[in-house]
Each structure stands twice: as C-alpha cells, then as structure tokens.
C-alpha cells in the first residue's frame, strides 16, 4: 500500500471516496480520488451520457461582504479583476481572473452575486495565496471569509438536472450561470448551474456534515456515478477549458490565453469603468492590437496523444521551437488525441498545420477550434 505522506488535507467526502473504492492521490495538498473502479475512460463517457458526481471540496470557497453595500463591494473586487462585477445581477455567476501587474493571471475563479455579497470559488492550489491577496488588497470595508464548513460537489452531464431535482426540485428552473441559495428542510444549498466539463450541470455547496449523505443519495441513483480527477481533466480538455498552472499562469495574458471574452466591454478601452485592474495597460493594449501569441486548440493528426510540455515547430525540419502544448491527452468522447497550446498569432489560424516533436519525431498537428466537442449548457 502506498504510504501517503502526512499533512495532506481531506475533504468531507474522504470516507465516501474510500467506500466507493476510489484510487486516492495527492492533489493540491489534498488526498483526492483520481479514479473509481469504473476507470477514467468510462467515467468520462458516463458523464457525457448520464451524470457524474465530482468532489471539488478542495477548491476555495470565499465570501466577500461589505459594510458599504453591494456597489462598493463590486467596485472593490473590480480593482483586482478585469470583469464587470458591478453589472453582475443577483443570483448570477460569471467567470473571472485575478490579473497581475504585468498582465499575467494569478488565478481564475467563479464570481456569484448572492444578493448580500459576492461568493467566489477559486483553485485549490491558489486558495491560500488568493485569500491573502484579497485581504491585503481590498479596502477595509470588505470582509473576506473563507468558507471552510461547506463541501463543494459538482454534478455534471445531461441527466444532472433530473438527478439533482429529486433532492432539490427548484434546480430544474435554473439556467446556465444562475447561482442561487435554496433552503430545503432548513438546509441551505448554494447551487450554480455551471461546471468544468462542457456539459449542463451544477456546482453544489452544502454544509460539510451533509456532504456524504448527499453524495450517497446521488450515486445511489441509476444516472449517477462518482467521477475522479482523471476524467475531470479529460472532460475539461475536450471542452477547451483552461487549467490554471498549465494553460494559464502568471506569464500568460488573458488575450494570449484567448479568454478575452471574460473582459466585458465596460472594463475595456472606452468603457465606463475602463481599466483599473492590475496589468490594465498591457491587457487593454492587447485587446486593441492583439497579442503576439495565442492559446489554440490542437489536433494531433495521428493516434499518439501529445501531453503538456511537447514542443511545437512550424515545419518538420525547422530548428526554432514556436510554442508548446500546455494540456493534452486522449479525448474519450471525440475518440482521438486532443491538445491545446500557445502559438505565434501568424500560425494560429484554424486549419494551419504545424509539427510537434514527440520522442524525437516530428508529427503533424492541425490548429483547430475549441471546444473539441460541442458544449451542452442549458442557456
């Protein structure tokens, strides 16, 4: 038996994972299920065909409130993210990024307007730094609270709605990126209709003490299987979604990363609240004039999966590396290898053929649109 080093954290679903016979691995300081007996491939396909339950309790849940009301709170957060937070309506959610002074990305996050504050979900590996950063950067009237007494589950897939509605009937009325608080039998569920798989589905924050009970009820349903981190990664890769620390980091700007859609008009040049976030100078100029490189979808032409770090070249012979793969692997639903990576803008057009060097061989790769598989959000 593998001797996991101590001081790894456990989520409220740790015992549930063991009972489900999960293979546990260290991930972002937590002992997490990488797969269950079904295996990565079948877990992936099951999520796309029915519904998959993910434990994402390792992610950071942070509540921001202000003594000066929502407008002051939203404007305070806008000083750290290039996102229209003020325009985020109650019970709605939006994707965001924390930018740094050089226009890179410190973390990506989800922002919900709860009516009385802003609820953030941040990456597990970044959460300690994010919370310290929020505390250090936000004005005194903003109160930053890490929510440590709630678990976070994700239920994803075309049958997620029918499954979750058995426990919380109101979820059937939610649309993509709605984010609400629903009380059932005195328990407050914080539910958003969003996720990280390209499927319709929900992210569900519930009191930690109820997490295993809810997880057991869900996996007891015919539609639902527990899904590990392995399939979570292949699902988000097919959906063309960025993984922080891999596809985006402190050196990639949002324009380079091709996530400029996360920067609403009001924060861009000429907008009512133009700039005013870290790295605005570079990011606003790239929004107008473009960046030198761009994150693109890549389809290896052969069968060999191409993983993170694989170098890219313009031709089969050229000596100079032009970019590299930042995420890649086999896509079980598209039944072929898929990848994403950064390329010079001049070579980033869909259909462009470039080459990857794999085990000393140059293999052709085609630049392709993402997602690799059409997403099925319920808008």
């Amino acid at each position: 038996m593998t001797d996991l080093t101590t001081d790894l954290n456990r989520t409220p679903l740790y015992e549930f994972h063991l009972a489900q016979d999960a293979k546990m691995v260290p991930f972002a300081g937590y002992e997490m299920p990488v797969q269950y007996p079904l295996g990565v491939m079948k877990e992936h396909l099951h999520t796309r065909a029915a519904a998959g339950l993910f434990d994402v309790s390792h992610m950071g849940q942070v509540m921001l409130t202000s003594t000066e009301g929502f407008e002051a709170l939203a404007l305070a957060l806008e000083s750290l993210v290039p996102v229209d937070v003020l325009g985020l309506k109650p019970a709605r959610q939006r994707y965001g990024i924390f930018t740094n002074e050089t226009g890179g990305i410190l973390d990506d996050l989800m922002i919900s307007n709860t009516g009385d504050g802003l609820f953030l979900v941040v990456n597990a590996a970044c959460k300690a730094e994010d919370i310290a950063y929020l505390n250090a950067s936000l004005p005194d009237h903003v109160h930053v609270t890490e929510i440590t007494d709630r678990a976070l589950l994700a239920l994803q897939g075309p049958m997620a709605e029918v499954a979750l509605a058995r426990l919380v009937p109101l979820v059937a009325e939610l649309k993509f990126m709605d984010s609400v608080r629903i009380t059932v039998d005195t328990v407050e569920w914080w539910i958003s209709r969003s996720g990280y798989t390209g499927e319709d589905g929900f992210e569900i924050s519930i009191p930690a003490g109820l997490a295993s009970d809810v997880a057991e009820k869900l996996v007891a349903m015919d539609e639902v299987e527990p899904i590990g981190l392995g399939a979570r990664d292949s699902l988000r890769l097919e959906a063309g979604l960025c993984l922080y620390g891999h596809d985006i980091d402190t050196t990639t700007s949002p324009v380079e990363a091709n996530i400029a859609w996360a920067i609403q008009k009001v924060r861009r040049s000429g907008g009512a609240r133009e700039g005013g976030f870290p790295g605005a100078e570079r990011i606003l100029s790239e929004l107008l004039g473009g960046a030198e490189r761009k994150r693109v979808g890549l389809l290896p032409q052969g069968r060999a999966p191409m993983r993170e770090g694989t170098p890219l070249y313009a031709t089969a012979e050229s000596a100079d590396q032009i970019g590299e793969i930042t995420s890649g692997g086999f896509g079980p639903s598209v039944e072929r290898p898929v990848a994403m990576g950064y390329l010079p803008v001049s070579l980033s057009e869909n259909g462009t053929e470039i080459f990857a060097e794999l085990r000393g061989k140059r293999l052709p790769v085609t630049v392709a649109p993402m997602p690799f598989r059409t997403s099925t959000y319920k808008r």
Partner: protein, 123 residues
Amino acid sequence: MAADIKFTEEHEWLRVEDDLVVVGITEHAAEQLGDVVFVELPEEGTTVSKDDEVVVIESVKAASDILAPLDGEIVEVNSPLADDPGKVGEDPMGDAWFFKMKIEDMSALDDFMSEAEYKDFIG
C-alpha cells in the same frame, strides 16, 4: 507450461515460444495503466539492447515505455494492437502481446522471476 513464463521487475512477461521470446505486460501492469489508447510498436528486424525503450503505451492518464528485457532482435510485432490498443486492458497476458524477439542465449531467462516470485514481488 507455466514454467516457460517469466516476469521482469518492469511488469513484463516473457514466454518462450519455439526459439523466440514473446513479450507483453502483466495483468497487474495493465490494471495500473488503465484504459490504453495508444500503442507504438518497434519495426520488425530492429536490433535492441536490454533496457532500450521499444514500445510506447499511453493510457488516458499517462505514457509509459516497455523496455527490451534482453539484448536481441525484434522478429515479429503484434501489428493489430496499434489499431486496437484497448486490447491491452482486455487480454494483456494473451492476445495483447507486443513483440517476439530472438535472443542469443535462452538461459538468460533464468535470471527473471517465476510466476510465484512475481506474485510475491507485487505483493
């Protein structure tokens, strides 16, 4: 016939078939790998040295290499496997062999583990 099968610490099995050694991976290794999605086989006729990387296997999770267990020549490869890599998970000890090699001295096989020794090795 069980005496004719040997196991390496790299979780390969070696089975003597006429004057050739057939090489594949064990059920234990296949289980650890998970769903295999890609197999790259060497060319027939390649001369290999012990520990050369001769086969690339990729599962959904990761890539791994199969090393040549001994010096010798690859005389036959299981070409259909490249088109049906999933077979590695289904029948690792049978249909999903990787290659057959010719070695100088069959007695070199004596250094590898027996089935019972391998079972102890994987605990």
